[in-house]
Symmetry: C2
């Protein structure tokens, strides 16, 4: 590590350089602050230094090893100004922003069939009409988002649109719902990706679904901590292979059907589900709601408009339309093919895998198809790893989440959000055994809630702005809002008992928590805020400096040195129940620390903190115009167990004196170097 | 609470009183420290104040209620000089110091029988010869302790004797063994006391043995926290009733036998123990070891010699002899009666209760007898509550246990030791289901280990002192040491598999832990110790004061005020990755805190701590003769959750700067009043 050397004073730094750097800007008055004559800092202007990479040179072999490991895992640190947004052409943009939405077709048809089979396999034909209704809703949403893209060319996530048009509560509803849904996107997508693998390679793998999924999620987490740019190239391959194979599957499969040789699914053990329910409205609603998982991810493009080449909004709109058309075609095609080929939902093999085997045969094309399916599903999860931390950072910047979510680490990634998402997603997967069909009922409620809020926000937006095209805009977004609201209600009713209640509890809880966090920050702001017009002048009040001491130790000596910089006269206070021992200590102070006053406070009840506190208070009360400064010598422990070995009187004195008028407290920590 | 008023300045304090109190003793130089003109402190002499009870007057209704509750539970606080030792006459002394030893006869015979029954009830007659051997060993020990009392009239606990004659390791062996055994004394005595109750009142009570025992222990703990004086009166009643009834039982029972009408135990279901073992040496050894529980508590008088009336050692010796004779008579008598009356060990009813019923009949005398048995057993546990904390305080004062064990609370009781003993004893009871026969195998190993060490120490003592009577002394204590060592080895072998291994593991572990604690205190002493001849002079090195700031908030303003007491020129350092925001903050400082220098350290990698640390280090390196003082403004959180909401940069800066040459760090905590 050549940077190690940079930490030492630079011998090349010339003597003719200005000695005071920090002092330069103060004009008439020269502060004896020298410029650090080494490369860790670069002089940038009056009173401004820039820390160079050498500032972070490791200290000691342990830290060097840790840094090396971090470099290997995550790459070198990136400066803030090294960030650059890759502008995406439409082809790459489709890959980057559509993987979530496109990949949904891998499980949407199956989700409908899993629900319908409860009423008997004879009713599986209903998959087709339900799919058509879903595509119709999807169409409405796509058209609505075309409006949003136009109106918010700098990125119109639901949270932003809601905050700007509907106020805080609506924005938190959208934000909370989206956070929950991003978690579920990761869980569902990775679970479905693992299902694609275990379908292609049946056997013992299926028993380790959760573990495999967790490895995937940790891998995605590490890649995102590395701060991967949303590089179109990485995304393009699996996306377009998936598109090509899926469209090929549909064309080839339906083509064979038209020619009179429909493909037939074989070797699938249809699940031995007893007909537990007759067909009813609720079941239809539930099948519809489950199928709506095909719509998730549609909002991604409107979030990412600024990443498109100019004219951004026009290119984004076009890409959205293409994506919508592709999803519609694939979804309807897969649903049709599933019915034609006689696929049936099975915990062992996905419907898409059944179709792949039936159409392509169990050859290499089938395996490529399965791998591409897994690939695009993992990319979909990766999309959530970009969206969740970004949304969390918005919320943190607005004070609704802990500020660390707004902090970008060495690689410019929002580390806290990335790690939090991975942890929660793995926990959810584990809780539901990694089964896609168990997670689906929880899914998409958040998406539809947030789309509803966002479309409502757009209606408000058009009404307020009344710019060009506001009339059609308000109609389109109004229809979108109403449609999504209806879908959201259907979701809540149909899936309530199946787990949706959990989401319906969690989202408000999250909102309450975010409001609580916000209130905390507000309160702190009130506690420590300084009015912008107040001028704090230089007058120095007279001060007395006191040190509570238990013995004459190095930490006390350090504090005495400290105290002597503040006042001529320093008083050591010794509380004890043994006055004779106290007098011996006074004698020692007289001999070893000449010039320090020494007061013994005898405490016949052996408690030492309260008498000291009372003493300082009374000094402060008696001396109205002055300040009582209490310095607390503190030996900093080296190990956690030391707190069982020593009393904590310094902290207790500090806690009691804090905030009392006329008293300033300071800890003076000591640790032997 | 009339004391509340005392906290305010006393209007009666005359203006003619000397204004400076703390300053009085400094002679030529007058410090502007006024005497707190209120009654919380009493002036005692130059530079010495005594805190009065009013110092502890409550603040606010919450604390007042807490204090009232504490007063009710534990009584008013006692000043250190309020302690007085009650001098005990021989009659009361026997009650105070003998309860542990006397009470042992309640379970000793039964313990032997529980072991012998394994080889068949035909062999129960061996109880008698084993009892006789035990009484012989007991006699040797009593005679040995008569020597100890003579040699250590100020109290000769095993730990003290071992420390003074055999060195640290032996003293820790004795100390660790005794600590373990005091815990078991509480567990065994309380379990046996509960057994006396459940024998007299059979039924559902037996299912709640552990809960009842825990209530007893908590009760004894509270009484001891109240700091009960070892009042002879409280002890006398149960002790003498127990003595009277037990001696009556033996006289009456054996008398009836001599007259040809032996009492007969009825209604006891002899335990259906299959003969699992034939009689062997190991079984005999085990029965002997279990019976040796009769010897526990014999050392109590030698610990407490100073509490006797003058001449202390002579009275103590006499009391010891009487106690020994009583235990011998009762133990042999009970063993004989148990065989004559055909008692058999039973989990439902104690042997002593069987004998009581057989001799007294199920009338009031029987119930008095059972209650007295319970009473003396609880008193025995209470003895351990005096011994354990005292021994722990010796160990703490010598640095082998955390110092809080040496701290005496409001009521002069060693609170930490009392609470620790109760917690551990309840845990042990719970782990062994509250059954006496399960605890007995663990018991008495510690006692015999510590007696062996202490008698060996006495041998060494005689050899070194060679005072009057050293020759018979060395023989007596030598025989005692050898006898106890043999017993201890028999214990370890015979009871090893039955649980003694646990004790044999725990005692060395405890010694290792105590040595560890001692090493920690030694290391701290080296870390912070100041050589007694060093004089720390008054020279004031030039200093520069820096404040890392994130914003202009009240905590920063407070720290700036603080800093201005230390130096003309104070520099605020702002680390940021956003120089524009930094310049805005500089402008705010210029306007609102005129005269404060302001340096921006730009950190392009967004980490803020390391650049600041490097900056201070380089200032310190460049300014060889001066001191760099870094003040860290710190907002003290009000709630635990706030640590999730704010970064902890101040503490991280502090941790990195601590102990670096030329740099002094201080926290300046802020909390709004």
């Amino acid at each position: 590590m050549s940077t190690q050397g940079d930490a030492r004073p630079d011998p090349e730094a010339g003597a003719d350089e200005p000695k005071s750097l920090a002092g330069r800007h103060v004009g008439d008055r020269r502060v004896r602050v020298r410029r650090p004559a080494v490369r860790p800092f670069r002089y940038r202007g009056p009173g401004v230094l820039t820390a160079q990479a050498a500032t972070f040179a490791p200290r000691g072999p342990g830290e060097a090893a840790a840094i090396r490991l971090r470099r290997v895992l995550f790459g070198r640190p990136l400066a803030t100004d090294e960030e650059h947004e890759e502008r995406l052409g439409k082809v790459k943009a489709l890959a980057v922003f559509s993987s979530d939405n496109l990949s949904s077709v891998a499980y949407a048809t199956e989700s409908i069939m899993f629900t319908l089979i409860v009423a008997g396999s004879a009713l599986l034909w209903l998959t087709m009409p339900i799919s058509i209704v879903i595509v119709a809703v999807f169409g409405i949403i796509v058209v609505s988002y075309r409006q949003t893209i136009r109106a918010y060319p700098h990125g119109g996530g639901s949270y932003i649109v809601a905050r700007e048009n509907l106020g805080t509560t609506a924005s938190l509803v959208a934000g909370g719902a989206l956070l929950v849904d991003y978690v579920l996107t990761v869980s569902v997508s990775v679970a479905a990706g693992v299902a694609a693998i275990t379908s292609a390679f049946p056997g013992p793998l299926a028993d380790h679904r959760v573990e495999i999924a967790a490895v995937f999620i940790v891998g995605i987490m590490l890649i995102n901590l590395r701060g991967i740019r949303e590089s179109g190239t990485i995304f393009a391959l699996p996306t377009y292979v998936f598109l090509a194979t899926t469209l090929g599957l549909i064309t080839f499969g339906l083509g064979r059907t038209l020619l009179g040789h429909p493909p037939t699914v074989t070797g699938v053990v249809a699940p031995d589900v007893p007909v537990v329910e007759s067909l009813g409205l609720l079941l239809l609603m539930r099948a519809f709601a489950d199928g709506c998982s095909a719509i998730t991810g549609v909002e991604a493009i409107s979030n990412g408009v600024p990443a498109f080449r100019r004219p951004e909004w026009r290119n984004a709109r076009l890409t959205l339309t293409v994506m919508g058309a592709l999803v519609a075609v694939m979804f309807l095609g897969i649903s049709a093919l599933a019915l034609v080929a006689g696929a049936s939902p099975s915990p062992q093999e996905t419907v898409l895998s059944q179709l792949g085997r039936a159409v392509f045969g169990p050859g290499p094309v089938y395996y490529v198809f399965q791998l591409a399916t897994m690939g695009i599903l993992v990319l979909a999860a990766n999309t959530a790893f970009a969206d969740f931390p970004r949304l969390a950072s918005f919320l943190a910047r607005d004070g609704f989440m802990p500020s660390r979510f707004a902090y970008r680490g060495e690689r410019l990634a929002f580390g806290a959000g990335i790690v939090a998402l991975a942890v929660v997603a793995i926990a959810v997967l584990a809780a539901f055994g990694g089964r896609v069909e168990a997670l689906i009922p929880l899914y998409a409620i958040g998406v539809f809630t947030s789309i509803t809020v966002s479309q409502t926000g757009m209606v408000r937006h058009w009404w307020r702005e009344r710019g060009a095209g506001w009339r059609p805009g308000i109609v389109i977004n109004g229809v979108g809002a109403v449609a999504c609201a209806i879908v959201a209600v259907i979701f809540a009713v149909a899936k309530f008992a199946l787990g949706a209640w959990l989401i319906i509890v969690i989202i408000p809880a999250l909102i309450v928590a975010m409001r609580f966090v916000h209130r905390q920050y507000e309160r702190r702001r009130l506690d420590v805020g300084v009015e912008p017009e107040v001028v704090i002048g230089p007058p120095r009040r007279s001060q007395q400096v006191f040190l509570p001491v238990a013995d004459l130790t190095r930490d006390v000596v350090q504090s005495v040195k400290f105290a002597r910089t503040m006042a001529e006269h320093v008083t050591a206070i010794h509380a004890t129940d043994d006055v004779a021992a106290g007098e011996a200590l006074r004698e020692r102070f007289r001999r070893q620390l000449p010039g320090i006053d020494f007061v013994i406070v005898e405490s016949p009840f052996r408690k030492l903190v309260r008498p000291l506190v009372r003493y300082f208070e009374h000094i402060a009360q008696g001396d109205g115009e002055g300040v009582v400064i209490v310095l607390l010598p503190e030996v900093v422990p080296r190990h956690w167990w030391e707190r069982f070995l020593y009393n904590d009187n310094a902290h207790r004195i500090r806690a009691e004196l804090l905030g009392r008028p006329g008293i300033l407290v300071a800890d003076v920590p000591y640790r032997r170097a």
